[in-house]
């Protein structure tokens, strides 16, 4: 039963991951953005656990547990606390033209699918066809970081990019070695803490967390 429907379920979860990446790209509210990020973490946890169950790779259970603890619980909690203390909980960002951004996203997805096609033919894993989706969600998070001007969405974009990378590793070679994975997880955690401190500094200096202020060299 699991052996039969397992790969199909992984494909479904990969598709949901892509859907969530697009939802994050077009989401205006910061609070919903963080909830979407947590949902993406949950999907990633399910996919990793499923791959672990299908292939019997026990270290994947560890990384699935790590994903659940870090990306579904800890990081969203830190982000929620951050926006509460920065007082930007109900901030709405004026995005430039959502349809254009989405079109750019579609182009990126096609690019990623084309790039991944030759690689996934070489791979022998059950998850090889999802590699394109993993690459697409990395690129989409990257696009999100570029198009946002507020600092908190940029941080969320950075964290979502790590989600995509993690999924790519699972899809292509059943996850990275445990040492690397722990290192990356710690890096992301520390990065989000440092970025939190950084955001407070930006706000203190400019009275807002809009990173466009950083582009000016001189004070007027």
């Amino acid at each position: 039963m699991l052996q039969h429907y397992g790969p199909q379920l992984i494909n479904l979860l990969a598709a949901v991951l892509l859907l969530l990446a697009f939802a994050m790209l077009s989401q205006r509210r910061i609070l919903s953005l963080i909830n979407l990020f947590a949902a993406q973490g949950l999907v990633l946890f399910l996919a990793t656990a499923l791959v672990a169950a299908l292939t019997g790779q026990s270290h994947l259970y560890w990384s699935a547990g790590l994903t659940l603890a870090l990306k579904v619980m800890l990081l969203p909690w830190i982000l929620h606390r951050l926006i509460r203390r920065l007082n930007v909980k109900w901030d709405v960002e004026t995005l430039l033209n959502i349809p254009t951004t989405m079109l750019a996203g579609i182009v990126l997805v096609i690019l990623a699918f084309n790039l991944a096609a030759p690689i996934s033919q070489l791979a022998g894993t059950v998850t090889r066809s999802t590699l394109g989706i993993a690459m697409a969600s990395v690129l989409l998070s990257f696009l999100m970081m570029i198009t946002r001007s507020k600092a908190v969405p940029q941080v969320v974009g950075f964290l979502a990019m790590e989600n995509g990378l993690f999924f790519a590793a699972t899809a292509a070679v059943y996850g990275m070695p445990m040492v690397v994975e722990l290192g990356v997880a710690l890096d992301v955690l520390v990065a989000s803490l440092i970025l939190g401190v950084f955001l407070f500094q930006i706000r203190e200096r400019f009275d807002s967390v809009d990173t466009r202020h950083l582009e000016k060299l001189k004070e007027h």
Binding site: L9, N11, L12, A14, L18, I106, T130
Partner: protein
């Protein structure tokens, strides 16, 4: 064309004509319950239709013959569409009359006539409604086509009847692309049936209305035809959705036992779908008309993604 097939086809068409107002009534009732109002009776749409057929027609002085014929043309288009969509059985005589693309064309023809009729008398409201309807239509149609293309890619045919056969009678499999297509189709049908995020079906005098603005000048039996056609449109869209995403329990060919067995399934599916529609309408707020392109653009992109995901994951 054999006699049994023709009889089955006739049953299906009659059922669609009779059930369509009931579906509208059911959705209205669910909406009223969710809004904590006391609900109108389930048969209210039939009473409204009977009342309208009984009233005399009041025509504007400068109404052209087009204004008088348009309700019948619109009703005819939608009745034909209802006969083409497989609701109870596949492989019926009219199923071959149009594939999915021609079906979209048929729905577009109905839209074309209602927009022309809206502009015919020359009131400001009618023109405004017609323009908005055409805008929503030209954005929704490509998305609907993309959804149908995704289903066609999976089942290797653009005929709805064959799609239902292929999807409903094969071994159960999970199609991620159909999840995307399902979300896109829901968004398109909300827009096409003048439902809440795009248009409000419960208003008659509001600057934001689309469908109601076009039919303001109609009265009597003409209005009855248009209202009935609107119910039929909701029915047709629900049945396309059921055929694409829940094609289980639909009989094959003119198999009478299968058709009788398919009827309770159809009723249950429609009841659940109507309740879900009422729930979606309850939970979302009407958006500004200028947000509609964004909404429908998202639907189109989701449908394109569905095709891409199909090529990548299921190819």
């Amino acid at each position: 064309m054999n006699l049994a097939g023709a009889a089955a086809q006739f049953t299906e068409l009659m059922l669609a004509l009779l059930l369509a107002p009931l579906l509208t009534g059911w959705v209205n009732q669910c909406r009223a319950w969710l809004q904590n109002r006391s609900a109108p009776g389930l048969l209210q749409p039939y009473r409204v239709l009977a009342k309208l057929f009984d009233k005399e027609v009041v025509l504007a002085h400068n109404a052209s013959p087009l204004f008088r014929t348009a309700p019948y043309l619109i009703f005819g288009c939608l009745a034909l569409a209802a006969a083409i969509v497989p609701t109870l059985a596949t492989g019926l005589p009219l199923n071959a009359a149009a594939d999915a693309i021609a079906l979209v064309g048929l729905l577009a023809l109905a839209r074309f006539f209602i927009a022309l009729a809206g502009m015919d008398v020359g009131t400001a409201f009618g023109t405004l409604g017609a323009r908005r309807e055409m805008m929503v239509g030209f954005l929704a149609e490509p998305a609907l086509l993309m959804v149908l293309f995704t289903a066609s890619l999976i089942s290797q045919s653009s005929s709805l009847s064959t799609i239902v056969d292929a999807l409903g009678h094969r071994e159960f499999a999970i199609y991620p692309s159909m999840a995307f297509a399902g979300v896109a189709f829901t968004m398109v049908s909300l827009a096409e049936n003048a439902r809440i995020p795009v248009d409000n079906p419960a208003t008659h005098l509001e600057l934001t209305m689309i469908h109601e603005a076009m039919v303001l000048e109609y009265s009597g039996r003409h209005l009855a035809m248009i209202e009935w056609a609107a119910s039929l449109k909701l029915f047709v869209y629900s049945c396309i959705g059921l055929a694409l995403f829940f094609p289980f329990g639909i009989a094959q060919g003119g198999d009478w036992l299968g058709i009788v067995l398919a009827l309770p399934g159809l009723l249950v599916k429609l009841a659940l779908g109507g309740a879900a529609l009422a729930l979606i309408e309850m939970m979302s707020a009407k958006m500004r008309i200028f947000r509609a392109p964004e909404f429908l653009g998202t639907a189109f992109l989701l449908a394109v993604l569905a095709m891409l995901v199909h090529v990548l994951l299921e190819g």
